[in-house]
Symmetry: C2
Subunit: 796 residues, 2 copies
């Protein structure tokens, strides 16, 4: 099953070229080892002494020479074919590699002039790596040419495919570590090749880098028979090409073999794209995949202290430890570094020699300088249609009903129409289920698998991407945003936890990027959570979890925004703001069911802009301090709160009730903690410090306490929300299970407002009895009681 | 590449048997449709009327007939070969299927006598499904025979492998939905077949059920050419067998073909196991995998309202909607249900006819009654060695140093030695990195891939399982626990977020299980988080996230426990308690670095039992109310707090300081909220209500506020913790970046204790200047300042 070796036209490179390639690779490796070990004497002008070596040796050597090797070979074909290539380093913990290549190409010194292309700059380059006040040990936002953090593993291939979408001229070379390949996110991402359009999207070249070991264990894919590995890659739909290198192979022979294979791969890609562009292909292309078997820690010390190091897990991090203290290790390090023959590579001033510069591409063709890796530099703002054209007419609060996400879908349809090449809508099989199906009036789901006549809205190209993998949807979108485009990821609320960790990493990326002068802002990550906890009554307990909000608010406040619009028009205003925003993670929670509408478009926009406000039309405290504030945040809690207001109006007309609705959750927090936090006076104007508050919240109630514990009214704040009680039942039964129903909220008011509890004990009991009546009805009929289902807001 | 069709001995079944199988399948399908639609007239004794139909139609028909079909065919081979089979329904949203089969086999009525095997019981069976007060629409803890919640998708295959470990007599038949197969967790789980031992572990038979559609989209694996699909499965290391069914195939022919295939599969499995048991196999077995192509909604309505339903996504949930209101749909439903010929299947009283009972296995051979699916019934407590044998001798606080997890490793080694067949240690390539390597003195990592001489501690069997997939590790352990065994999952703290959602689902499973009379408690899920936020200075920002604690405390308080032992002996005491506990999720955060030791074994055990306590030996408030409480939770914050105590002792000897250390985080919470919450009096005895507290916390500081907002001292509680600031630097610089260092804590005391700020402004400044000194040293040398690195606790 080893691929055939028929030579093709265009392959091959003159021997001189490969000698330069080899020199360039040695230079990159030298610079990588220097970063890990040295804080002085960068060019080895003098014999290495202990004080030249860093006291703490941090970094990952094992994967590094493979990354530099691939970079060098990609450079050759970039030159030969004038390609535009984005390099995604899955094993981004091989940070020394991608920093070394960026310095060698001159990009590093352009981005960071103090890290100049001379001896002083090389010294700084070495010293700063993994050094306090310096740069991280992994590929990171600081790294020119990178869109991909090298810490947590698994997201490289999804990022690569996201970057390739709508970039027809781009080749994304994605190196996948064999450890990384064991992760779930990566394993799922192989099938992304069924979603790429061979004309309007770019190309992804996955490069599976097998070096055999992780930190301590062999890797799975390096320990299966080759026939299984090739079958696996063919099963993923690829045509595999293999380069197999042993530590003692002749470098020139290895380079010649690799160059020939790389040429065959690029010929194959060109053939596929040419046939597709000419309309001559119907079947899904079998895109090439490259497998590189190379020794872990290749070109490093073969043995240390009598133990094999090169080719084993012992070279995963630093193959030589205790170098300052151990003269033998110091000598080994010097021998290792001199094996690259640095004085052939760098001139007397420490600059790379001309042949190296001549070998590498220049300008924006350098992978370290490709504009797509600084997506903000390519960002074109969306053309945003007027939301008023899709707004729901609301003659008076509660008079009409609509599906919030259904309405949003009609606006997103217009967004798609107006932005046909830089906006994507993604979801795990849920775009229609989440009622965004209006999008399909102007586009389709992009899918290049076998399509059948019974399918609907499936096409080889389209603005919607759906696969039942939250990882892949999130990763596609991250890659798309990081390369300067826009999008929305929609997800069932409970299952967005699947990408908790991915969102973490993206938040960290943005946080650091904002501090890097040359990185320009990118479009925000917009996460629309619908099919939310209160309307998963039919799917049951496993589908009920509002905890993503708790998760995301742990990230930096300059990045995180959380919105819970109570109806369709507030959702439209929220979505518009999110699509205009930059460098944020916007989480929007909105229901998809047909529900009460409260605010007309102007009122909605003003409410969203304020973040929270008094709903006068629902309150009866005009001109007075209220006896109680009924606060609500989230669409379903808002309905229950207003129903509770009607109960109070009927039974306790003298109680002065203020209704406060919160759209922008973070406005609850102290402004010291979050930029959206309401100033203390503004907060106290909504929530008088000693007035009891009954707060109906969409999520876990303690999140509100967490956000408000510094507020003056915190001691009188009583929050109802989801208490992790649920099952398959009716919507109103879900509320009762968690004491968030109107009857309980009204009873809470009696409990909280001084003086009411004693006088109105009977009413309190009656309210709770109403719950029993509702529950009994539901158990008997399977439906909510008619008065609950048919409830309508009526003005006072 | 279609597998050969050579008949083998032992295959085939008499035709009579297949007729009974067909009847049994029809019965299961009838019962499934009845559950989705009917609330009365279960046997169709009279023509169907609207009021017989549920008002809300909830459930997933699409996958159901495939599940019942597979169950029926497995029943045949269980009978024929006396197998013990556990059925894992990946598409567990096909709840009607697994409930129907459990009722048909009599198990349901044994578990729930009110759901009897007669007309009344069948009526109740139908009515309760997806009905308020009834049972969920998905496979759930309520479902006899299930260890697998059918809500979130992706974990079936990992659960199946976990169940098979150390169960050599068990065959786990794991049905994987083609939608589910797109998820990351499932995609990663295919490689679990390289970790199974063919003699000491059981067998997993993955069954890939391709029915072509998800909610709205085609599935990827149903839309690739068959040669790719077979290559993929061969690439995973399996031998694929295929059954391909079209809607109009003759049922008898389908059954015969399926039975023959099933026999070939079981012959192959028997052959593999036989050769392995005889020691005649050396290569990793190529275990069979079954691919079942069958129409979605098979045997359901072919077309509805002129649109194709059977075989399309339209049968994903309820193929007929609005049945109460639409007479045509009502008629279609009746015709559909009668197509199964219920009166041939059930007697006049509604009981299954004798032939059906005779067809299915009996007793514990029923998949609905297999004891492994009620793991608690098989649970054997661990033999726990005395922790004192591994404890660190601590002559006085701070006198010795040790690695907490290193010490734990020696105890786990003894646990493994004493429990050779029901305890597993799992981790994503990090067991040694997390310093638990003592385990390898008595066992190895189990791995059946190709092994090389350079490998260490790799063997075909062993108690440790490592793969670089948190999903698979967590899923293996869940499957292992749910089938009645014990284990520990160890993970880098930041990356445990990868399994946030899995842990959620497990917490929900336990919560519901605890309310089910027949389910017996299982061993707790023990998650050891090490390589934690404060000691990921070398790996940088991507590796720094303590937010799993925030995530897990959202789950039900009767299940969640969080421990932050400050040293090795408290870690030992904590771990012992966790391994004795049942039906919990225990999260332990503990460092792996060599650090100060504070408590001897007896003191440690007492401290862990209390959960929190005053450390008199570090306090100077004996006999008085303290001026300030320095509280600490977590190993690194404890060191910083004690260093701050020494600074205060030196500079402000008159300030009365009390040191409170918290091991059991949940003891901070009100006892109304959490069973471990300290009673108000006990809490106030540690933290006097008006005494300022400077709380050094391991995680995000607001988590402490969330837990304590009801406490009397909340207004004087000042918490330091991780504020999402980090990079690659030194350990002490990490603390300074987040204001958790000793100098800042001491300065906080000056800020908080009334009267100190004005009098000691100069000292305050000096303390903050110490930070500048330390930072400058670090930037210069790459190391922490010697006085910080070499700090030692000295008693007053």
């Amino acid at each position: 099953m080893r691929p055939a070796t028929v030579p093709r036209t265009g392959a091959g490179t003159p021997p001189g070229g490969l000698a330069d390639l080899h020199a360039w690779w040695r230079a990159a490796n030298y610079l990588a080892v220097g970063q890990i070990y040295l804080m002085d004497n960068p060019l080895l002008d003098e014999p290495l002494r202990p004080e030249h070596v860093k006291p703490r040796l941090l970094g990952h050597w094992g994967t590094t020479p493979g990354l530099t090797f691939l970079w060098a070979h990609l450079n050759r074909v970039i030159r030969a074919r004038d390609l535009e290539v984005l390099f995604v380093a899955g094993p981004g913990h091989g940070g020394p590699a991608v920093v070394a290549t960026a310095w060698l190409e001159g990009t590093y010194s352009q981005r960071y002039p103090e890290v100049s292309r001379d001896r002083a700059g090389m010294r700084r380059l070495f010293r700063q790596f993994s050094f306090p006040g310096g740069i991280p040990s992994h590929a990171a936002p600081e790294t020119p040419g990178s869109i991909h953090e090298g810490g947590e593993l698994g997201y490289s291939l999804a990022h690569a495919y996201g970057a390739a979408l709508d970039n027809p001229g781009l080749l994304v070379a994605c190196v996948i570590g064999d450890g990384e390949a064991e992760t779930g996110a990566l394993a799922a991402s192989w099938h992304a090749n069924k979603f790429l359009h061979p004309v309007t999207d770019g190309t992804v070249l996955p490069i599976l880098h097998l070096n055999g070991y992780k930190i301590a264990n062999p890797t799975v894919l390096a320990r299966i028979p080759e026939r299984e590995l090739l079958a696996l890659l063919e099963g993923y739909g690829h045509e595999p090409f293999v380069v197999d290198v042993a530590a003692d192979d002749d470098p020139q022979e290895v380079h010649a073999r690799t160059a020939a294979t790389m040429d065959r791969i690029l010929d194959a890609i060109a053939g596929i794209r040419g046939r597709a562009a000419a309309g001559r292909s119907v079947d899904r292309p079998r895109w090439p995949v490259l497998v590189l078997h190379s020794p872990k820690g290749w070109t490093g010390p073969a043995t240390v202290d009598g133990k094999p190091v090169e080719g084993t897990w012992r070279s995963h991090q630093v193959p030589l430890s205790g170098v300052r203290e151990n003269p033998e290790h110091l000598a080994l390090l010097e021998r290792w570094m001199r094996s690259y023959r640095p004085h052939e590579l760098f001139d007397a001033e420490g600059a790379p020699r001309a042949a190296l510069d001549a070998f590498a591409p220049g300008g924006k063709r350098r992978m370290s300088a490709v504009p797509h890796a600084d997506g903000g530099s390519l960002l074109v703002p969306l053309r945003l249609p007027d939301t008023r054209d899709q707004a729901v007419a609301v003659p008076a609060p509660g008079r009409v009903r609509a599906s919030a996400t259904g309405v949003l879908g009609t606006w997103l349809r217009e967004v798609i129409r107006a932005n046909p090449d830089n906006f994507r809508l993604l979801g795990p099989d849920e775009v229609a289920s989440n009622r965004l199906q209006a999008a399909f009036e102007v586009t389709d789901r992009q899918f290049d698998g076998i399509r059948l006549p019974t399918d609907e809205h499936q096409a080889a190209d389209g603005r919607v991407l759906e696969i039942l993998s939250e990882h892949l949807c999130e990763g596609w979108l991250e890659g798309y945003l990081l390369t300067g485009r826009h999008g929305v990821f929609t997800c069932y609320e409970a299952f967005v936890h699947i990408v908790d960790s991915m969102v973490n990493q993206h938040a960290k990326w943005i946080k650091v990027s904002r501090g890097i002068a040359w990185r320009r802002p990118i479009a925000s990550l917009n996460v629309l959570l619908t099919s939310h906890v209160w309307r998963q009554d039919h799917n049951g307990f496993s589908h009920q979890d509002p905890g993503f909000l708790d998760h995301v608010v742990n990230k930096r406040s300059e990045i995180v925004r959380v919105y819970l619009p109570p109806d369709a028009n507030t959702l439209l205003a929220t979505a518009e703001g999110c699509l205009r925003s930059r460098d944020k993670i916007n989480v929007i929670v909105a229901g998809k069911q047909v529900e009460h509408q409260w605010l007309g478009p102007e009122a909605a926009a003003a409410h969203v802009a304020r973040g929270a406000g008094i709903w006068d039309w629902a309150s009866n405290d005009a001109g007075h301090e209220p006896d109680v504030v009924l606060a609500c945040c989230g669409d379903v809690p808002t309905v229950e709160t207003l129903a509770a207001v009607m109960l109070l109006r009927e039974h306790l007309p003298d109680v002065r009730v203020r209704v406060v609705n919160v759209v922008d959750l973070m406005c609850l927090q102290d402004p010291v903690e979050h930029p959206h936090g309401l100033a203390q006076r503004a907060y106290d104007a909504l929530f008088p410090p000693t007035t009891p508050v009954v707060f109906a919240f969409h999520g876990y109630p303690w999140l509100v306490h967490r956000l408000t514990y510094r507020r003056a009214n915190h001691d009188v704040l009583h929050v109802r929300g989801y208490r992790e009680e649920g099952t398959t039942t009716t919507p109103f039964d879900m509320l009762m299970l968690n004491d968030l129903d109107r009857f309980h909220l009204a009873a809470d008011v009696i409990d909280r407002v001084p003086g009411l509890a004693v006088r109105h004990a009977a009413l309190h009991q009656r309210l709770l009895d109403e719950r029993l009546r509702c529950r009994a009805h539901t158990r008997r009929t399977g439906e909510d009681a008619p008065d609950v289902r048919g409830w309508e807001w009526s003005p006072a």
